[in-house]
């Protein structure tokens, strides 16, 4: 017996008994492929919005409410309750900035502005430069912040500010043309011992001067002119570009330039632009809150207590970068724009006495809202194209999945037949001298592989019949 055990031990160590079979390896690989196809199929969910009726209704309502806020509380410069709030806010920020720069005043805005004007002197601050400038540029205190390129709160404005500070010049855009005045200010000197230092000083001067002008100048009566809105400064950018490439300005450019100057003179500056931002921002925030709250309620309603987790909750409720919230925002901003543009158009006709008054229209038009809606619309169109392209791929992937699933199912069947653990268990039983255990395992192995039932020995009687009876058939009971 001990000799037999030794033999079996040797044979156990000699055989290649790997823990995982070829079938199991193929199965795990196939399951990975299946996962990959499932991810492809699910990827379209990341593009498709999942809004229900209530989402659309709430989004449209938010847009409508904010549209009404924009019509009645923002309106146009000079008739805007929210505009007054933003004016005050900017005034307070100017005073805070002045204090930061060393102003020790008593809270008087004009004094703060004066302090900043003296601290951040620039060569391009002419309200008019003689009769020629008045005649050629049409320059006056009401429009000089718009026409002066360095006063524009844009990158181009920064560029021209630094250029003017370096070269002691002044650049203006008027009637679609670019005009340069040399030797703008004989007293101006840009500080700094080297170019980088001068650049930094130039930037600081530009910024500081803009802050000094944002709430009007020190001698302003009333709210002052402020600095132009960055969204309307593009008209000046076009003039500069055309001048650079020596393209003569067209009539349309001149008309747009006049329009931009006119609305600036009516009070459409950075402060009013900020006031226009408020209903758009409220609309955006309201829609995202509505989305998150509804999903949160659904999460707590549907998820069992023991399965809840913060990560899962965040994944379901976060209102960024998912197509559903983006669709809701498109609807909300679309509704907002509809009300705003409708109101601006009606009042444009009303103020023109039957003819269309474009100045009135543009004063009331919430350009931030229009811009935000355009971005949403662009996103929808882009997603639409992606869905169209992906849908075809998804259809094909679903068909491939059927084939792969069949392959996986067949591999699983084979895995049961070719159970890799039974042979080592059989050997182990023989090693231990457990003949009955080894016999039971052998019966199981024969069944799995598909040996006909009448040929399998299932108990001691069958063994006796087989070896004593001289036939291959086992007696059935």
């Amino acid at each position: 017996m001990s000799q037999n055990v030794k033999i079996i031990e040797m044979l156990f160590s000699d055989t290649e008994i790997a823990c995982s079979s070829c079938i199991d390896t193929a199965l795990s690989q196939a399951e990975l492929e299946l996962e990959s196809i499932d991810e492809t199929i699910e990827s379209i969910d990341a593009l498709r919005p999942d809004c229900d009726k209530l989402d659309y209704i709430l989004a449209a309502s938010s847009g409508a409410i904010c549209g009404i806020i924009d019509v009645f509380l923002v309106g146009k410069p000079g008739e805007s309750p929210i505009g007054k709030l933003t004016d005050n806010w900017f005034a307070n920020r100017v005073k805070d900035f002045a204090k930061l720069c060393g102003w020790k005043g008593d809270g008087d805005l004009a004094s703060a502005i004066r302090f900043l004007e003296n601290k951040f002197k620039v060569p391009y601050d002419q309200t008019s430069s003689g009769d020629i400038a008045k005649g050629v540029l049409g320059l006056n205190p009401k429009n000089h912040h718009f026409k002066s390129l360095a006063h524009n709160p844009t990158l181009l404005g920064l560029f021209f500010s630094i250029l003017d500070q370096f070269c002691n010049t002044s650049h203006f855009a008027s009637d679609g043309r670019l005009i340069t005045i040399d030797n703008a200010n004989g007293d101006f000197e840009l500080r700094g011992n080297n170019i980088p230092a001068k650049l930094i000083c130039g930037f600081v001067n530009w910024f500081g001067h803009l802050v000094s002008d944002v709430s009007g100048s020190s001698g302003s009566k009333g709210r002052g002119m402020g600095i132009p809105s960055p969204f309307w400064c593009w008209i000046n950018d076009i003039a500069v570009l055309k001048a650079t490439f020596k393209i003569p300005p067209s009539e349309f450019d001149k008309k747009m330039n006049d329009m931009a100057v006119k609305i600036f003179e009516e009070g459409f500056d950075v402060r009013f632009q900020t006031a226009q931002l408020i209903p758009v921002f409220v609309n955006e925030t309201l829609v995202r809150i509505i989305y998150s709250v509804r999903r949160l309620i659904r999460y707590f309603k549907d998820m069992q207590k023991e399965n809840r987790s913060f990560q899962l909750m965040w994944k379901q409720c976060e209102s960024f970068s998912n197509p559903t919230v983006k669709r809701m925002l498109t609807v909300a901003h679309g509704t907002f724009c509809l009300i705003d543009i409708g109101d601006a158009t009606i009042r444009g006709f009303a103020s023109g006495g039957g003819t269309f008054n474009p100045c009135e229209f543009f004063l009331r038009l919430n350009i931030t809202g229009v811009g935000r809606f355009t971005i949403s619309l662009y996103g929808e169109v882009k997603r639409g194209f992606q869905i169209y392209r992906t849908e075809k791929d998804i259809e094909f992937a679903k068909k491939e999945r059927i084939i792969l699933q069949d392959y996986v199912d067949n591999l699983k069947k084979l895995s049961k037949i070719y159970n890799v653990n039974l042979h080592p268990k059989f050997i182990e039983s023989l090693n231990r001298g457990d003949s009955c255990g080894a016999f039971e395992i052998s019966t199981d192995m024969a069944k799995k592989v598909g040996v006909p039932d009448d040929k399998i020995l299932k108990n001691k009687d069958d063994i006796d019949n087989y070896f004593k009876g001289g036939t291959n058939n086992v007696t059935t009971k």
Binding site: E16, C22, I403, L414, T443
Partner: protein, 433 residues
């Protein structure tokens, strides 16, 4: 070439490579199988000695063993003839290897050697039942497929070929010929649809080959393992002697275990390869027709004559479209494409102006879907049955446990009743002392 055409070519190449890999694995398995076959023969001989088979019968076995030895030569002869037929059908020698033809190179020898040897030794089945054609049939059945052999006499032409359309043989070589017909379609959308269908067919077939490769590799590994196992087991069995009655219980059980292992090892050699089996055969379809006559009639209603005239063609198309989701437009285009393939038409024995090919495709598609549902229902029923059996077992065990608990309680009560008189008896005996 469009991206899709590129993909189709790649899938065809993958399928070709898969066939070559299957061929390699079958060759390897065949070589190892030969060694195991000899060992199993030795074990069976030993068992025969223990079983004390009478001398007349032993003589008969000796004769059949001689026939067996001749049979090895016979089977090789059949294999040579078979391969010659295949090469003739393929129209060339070297081209055949890449077209799945080599797939039967080692199958018949091993399969027939094992199946016939054990068939004779254990059941006494006459070897004469396995004639040339039947032997090749057995090889085909073992491999689960056929090859491109068409024409000629016997079982290779007609039914066997048609029933075994896809995954082996016809499906790949002929599919690539058929798929080249796609170029004749002018409309881009039509070409795109057909390319998708053929890409899916190639993917399905490649997966079937991969399934076969996995199974063949596993079997090869096992055969190799079992060879070393049996080398030692033979020595152990010989150590037991030939007198069964003189053996200990443990040795008897060990012998029983080895007998089962012998059957299992044999089955390992002769079981058909799952991945190479056709999904549908005429027999399977007949079985389904008998099981669900109403469903079957509703599918072929209005096309009964067409169906029975071309039953084999329907089976081939069912194999072609198995697991491939198509809509009506796809099948219409596929019918047009298949009609342009002379190889397909001659294999199906259909003329090029046959009007009802699309009809046959529709029937094949519906039957495929219905059969899948039927199979699913059957497996659900067997699961239900197993669950009911398990439940019955559980209830029986439960009853037994309940009765055991009751008996234990009764015993405890009886013992408690006996305690008082026993303790009194003990007291009295102490008192008396």
């Amino acid at each position: 070439m469009s991206q899709q055409s590129e993909k189709l070519k790649n899938e065809e190449k993958k399928a070709m490579q898969a066939i070559r890999d299957v061929n390699c694995e079958i060759s390897r398995m065949g070589m190892r199988g030969d060694i195991l076959h000899k060992q199993l023969t030795a074990v069976q001989n030993r068992f025969d000695q223990i079983r004390n088979i009478p001398s007349e019968t032993r003589n008969k076995y000796e004769q059949t063993k001689q026939i067996c030895a001749n049979w090895e030569d016979q089977s090789k002869k059949i294999e040579r003839e078979y391969n010659a037929k295949i090469k003739k059908a393929a129209g060339g020698g070297a081209a055949g290897a890449g077209l799945g033809i080599g797939i039967v190179a080692f199958g018949p020898t091993t399969a027939m050697g094992i199946a016939t040897t054990f068939g004779v030794a254990s059941t006494g089945t006459a070897i004469s039942t396995l004639s040339g054609a039947a032997a090749t049939n057995a090889a085909l059945a073992w491999l689960g497929g056929g090859s491109l052999a068409v024409g000629g006499g016997g079982m290779v032409a007609g039914q066997a070929f048609l029933a075994l359309a896809g995954p082996v043989g016809w499906s790949i070589a002929a599919i690539s010929l058929v798929s080249s017909m796609i170029l004749f379609f002018k409309a881009k959308s039509d070409r795109s649809r057909l390319e998708n269908i053929f890409i899916l067919i190639n993917e399905r077939d490649t997966k079937k080959y991969e399934l076969a490769i996995a199974e063949l590799k596993e079997r090869s590994k096992r055969i190799k393992n079992y060879s070393s196992f049996w080398t030692q087991a033979i020595n152990e069995i010989e150590g037991y002697g030939i007198d069964y009655n003189a053996m200990s219980q443990s040795q008897k059980f060990n012998l029983g275990a080895y007998a089962n292992r012998l059957m299992e090892s044999t089955q390992l050699l002769v079981n058909p390869i799952t991945g190479l089996m056709p999904q549908y055969t005429v027999e399977k379809l007949t079985e389904y027709r008998n099981a669900k006559p109403d469903t079957f009639s509703s599918v072929i209603c209005g096309n009964t004559t067409t169906f029975y005239l071309h039953e084999e063609c329907v089976v081939a198309l069912m194999n072609l479209l198995h697991n491939i989701q198509t809509d009506e437009t796809d099948r219409k285009l596929l019918a047009k494409t298949l009609k342009q393939s002379k190889e397909f038409l001659s294999a199906m024995r259909i003329s090029s102006d046959y009007p009802d090919l699309r009809q046959l495709l529709e029937i094949a598609n519906v039957l495929d879907e219905r059969y899948n549902t039927y199979e699913m229902l059957q497996s659900l029923q067997s699961i239900k049955q197993s669950t009911q059996e398990m439940q019955a077992c559980y209830e029986a065990w439960n009853e037994m446990l309940q009765s055991m608990i009751q008996s234990t309680q009764e015993i405890t009560q009886a013992l408690n009743k006996m305690r008082t008189p026993l303790s009194e008896l003990a007291k009295n005996s102490i008192h008396l002392q």
